[in-house]
């Protein structure tokens, strides 16, 4: 794909092709996220959204995208979170997702992230291979995490030593959890978990 380009978009959200991104992510989705979910990420962390476009097409077709956030996790470690990742069908198997995620990790590292988290469906071997090749580990399994009844794994990557000893605001929590699950963690599969709480967050 000599014509592909990976671009970090300028922070102005007006330039993000939100509807294309939304269409790409929602493709395999039985219940789509409202526009607010996209706005939530793109307005607050536009720099952590990376897209790959095919410059060989007249309309610069969207080939892949990743949407992330970065904030302090319960007053403790600075946690990056990879919320959604998708690659258009014809562009799969070319390492686009890996490149985009790497870009996001690099920027999060630069922005002083201590750790990066995400969730993926337990049957989604491709996503796990991708993230594990980047250094993520499955830290725990989440029973029936998605509305379709499938379980998930939480994947974590520590970027600095001593992350486990950074105190958080709440009750001792040996894992830490973002608990909010809008993960589109793969090129092919994407699932949602509306209203799925985590005991670690809600006591």
């Amino acid at each position: 794909m000599g014509g592909d380009e990976v671009r970090s978009l300028p922070p102005l959200p007006t330039t993000l092709p939100i509807s294309e991104m939304r269409a790409l992510i929602a493709k395999d989705l039985s219940e789509p996220y409202s526009i607010y979910v996209y706005r939530y990420f793109l307005y607050q962390w536009p720099e952590l959204c990376f897209i790959a476009i095919d410059t060989s097409t007249p309309d610069y077709d969207l080939a892949a995208c990743v949407i992330c956030k970065l904030e302090r996790h319960r007053g403790g470690p600075m946690r990056g979170y990879i919320a959604m990742l998708a690659t258009q069908e014809g562009y799969r198997g070319k390492g686009l997702a890996k490149t985009l995620v790497s870009k996001a990790i690099d920027l999060m590292t630069e922005k002083d992230a201590d750790e990066i988290a995400l969730e993926t469906e337990e049957t989604n071997r491709a996503a796990m291979r991708l993230y594990e090749s980047l250094g993520f580990l499955r830290s725990k399994k989440l029973h029936r995490y998605y509305l379709n009844g499938n379980s998930a794994y939480r994947l974590l990557l520590y970027l600095k030593p001593g992350v486990t000893s950074i105190p958080t605001d709440e009750y001792f929590d040996p894992y830490g959890s973002d608990a909010l699950p809008p993960s589109a963690q793969d090129d092919s599969t994407y699932h949602e978990a509306l209203g799925n709480y985590d005991d670690e967050l809600f006591g």
Binding site: E31, T109, G149, L157, Y175, Y197
Partner: protein
Amino acid sequence: MQYNRPARNVQGVLMSSTMDMTDITKAFTEASDALGEGELVKDADFTLFESVGALEIMDPKMDSGFLQPGETLYDNFNVSAPLTAEQVVWVMDELFCYEMAWHKGYALLETLYTSVHLDNLLHQELSRARKARKATKSNKSAKDVSIDDVCFRAECETDQAGTEPTQIMLIHLVLRAYCLGLLKCCDLTIRIITSQMYHEEEDFVSQTFNRDLLSEHDTQEIYGFIQSAYRWLGSTGASSIPDKVRAALKDRLFIRQDFLGALEATIPDSNAWRPNRFGAWRDLQRFASDVGSQQQIGQPVLAAFSEKIQRRFSSNTPPRPIFKLTYREAHRDFDHMLESIGEACQLYELPKTSDCALSLLRYVWAFADKSPATLPRAIMQTVLFTEGQVCGRLDFPFERLLRIDLRELVLAGHPLISKSTIDAETSSDPGFRLRQLLDDFIKAAYEPYFKMYEALCQNRCRIRRRLTHIIGEFDSLQDEAKLIDRKVHTITTPESSQGRWPETDSNYPLHSWVSHHKHAMTQWVLQLGFEHDIYEPDELGIMYSVLSQVQAAQLDSNLRIGHFAKLRYTSVPDVDSYERVICGISCELNTVLGREFAVTSSLTGLLKTLYGFLDSLGTLSASSRRYGSAQRRFELRMKALQGCTSETFDFDTLNNGLRPDRGLVDDNFQNWNAVIESTLKELQEVHENISDQPVFRSSKEQWKKQDQLLLETVRQISERFRFLREACKDAGITMIGEGSLKGKVDVIIPPPGTHRIHDWWVVPEVIFTRAVNDVQDHKHSS
């Protein structure tokens, strides 16, 4: 995109004299026009959760009330319309499938609430309840608004003049009775589950979406309906129905009635007469299993279920896809559920199990090992935690279980529970002070101990997550235990009795007890990690090393506990006394535990060696990872064990310990073979020559099964070593650390489930690389 909305006089529509309203449309439009595209206006409390919860109106995927042009909100299915007997059987079976899907964790909206018949009954119940409330308010008799009102009513009554009486009875008596029974079963299920610890959405959705599942009606009333329907099916009025179909209808009513009865008897706070609960569930399982294996004879009435019904419910979630199991799957789940409930209720029949805390814990683990559904897990909690009635025994508070646990593990023959301590009356009596100290400890230990049992009644993922928290609580308790132990020590070791405990300095019974449970839980957390398949192939060796370290600590603590148990046993002067018996049991229990720890420790050691060896042969090296480091990843792994502060897990030490000793490959194999042989022998003997004390009796069957699995695992490990020996010979590798099997041999980690003998013991498959290619070629060509 612009929408042209019809102009509407908002004030005209909504204003009333009691309201003071301002039309903000103009201000709102102006303000939003001033925003740039994509700009988000939110307060600090607007989280990702809120944004995920937002719905877009007029989007058919999100707005459940959205109708396509020409679409109606209702399907035109008349609930009073006649159905054939075969069709009624089909409707019942469909309802059953949806009910099981609900038990699996799907919401009522996407399962049972798709039934037009149930929807109709629930609607009638809603108006009945409304009428009843009105009647009560106006002090009128509520007699006329009984459950008789909860019947099928079509939107517009159809002329049933030409309908056969049999068909009318099939709908209005048989199907109605079945539906009422089903709704009541759901009501009781919700009551049982929500009375215990479970996770909403994850395990079970208890939401009824503002419908009342006959909660105000007594089970007996519903029974009455089911029985009349059953009687009618046996009468001449139903003689036109073919025998086979009639029998099928009767079977379904029968199962419904028994399910209802068994649930009613299991309700934690019900005053209902409780016949043999275990028997009730077991009989139901037998019968349901028979019915489930019969051929299906129903004839579909597809229109009796509609996806549209959920649109009329107020819900903050988008329309959900309907989830359904097949009839076979539903019966399989039901069977599994009933079996687990039977196991939980069997504790009512096995009072001796709760006489031994260790047996009970083992029993609960065996129950949890089969991943029971939410209802059985809630029933197990009811059996264990009903106030003052552990396992249905009168006057048996949960605290007593904790005291039994302490006694059998560390306190038998100890002054803390001696008769003189129990009888001490005056505060000057040292026994009085001892009793206070033990009470202090019980008070502190009660909650973490309770939580440990409660955790085992959660789903498998939650067990691991909860235990990581509880380990921390036991860790904190350990300091307190030590403090109390010291105080006890100063009271119990006056000059005169110093000779009795020559090593009192290391005799900290309460501390040892906490340590025992903490180490046990730490092992479970690690083992569940293997079961949940969270470790990568190149981590398995080090994770078994960590497990091995915890087991060594456990064994060490067991030896100490056992040593003092023996000392106390031999120091009981009266060989026929009760105290001597109690001490004898404690000694034997600790001996059995010691043997179990030793044998599992050997097994862990073997796996550690196997993975270490595979690594030294270059067959486990993972592809490079772009970010992080091995240390960081290990740090992440150890987060789950962070609560266990008494252990330090050092990456370098553990990692170095994995490497096999340098030297001849053949010498190492000989050593490993010797370990395999001794482990097999240990396993054959671990539960031999155990006395027939009632406390051991209930565990014997489980031991047998468990030991068999472990034996097979060791044999499998032995095969792997044999294979590697041959492979090394073929490749000319004679010295450890010299030469690699990379590219010659492939290591495959079997996934949990059916591919492992035991999910906790991951024995890798080792095959020649050529064979992998052959397998792939074969797959390709086929």
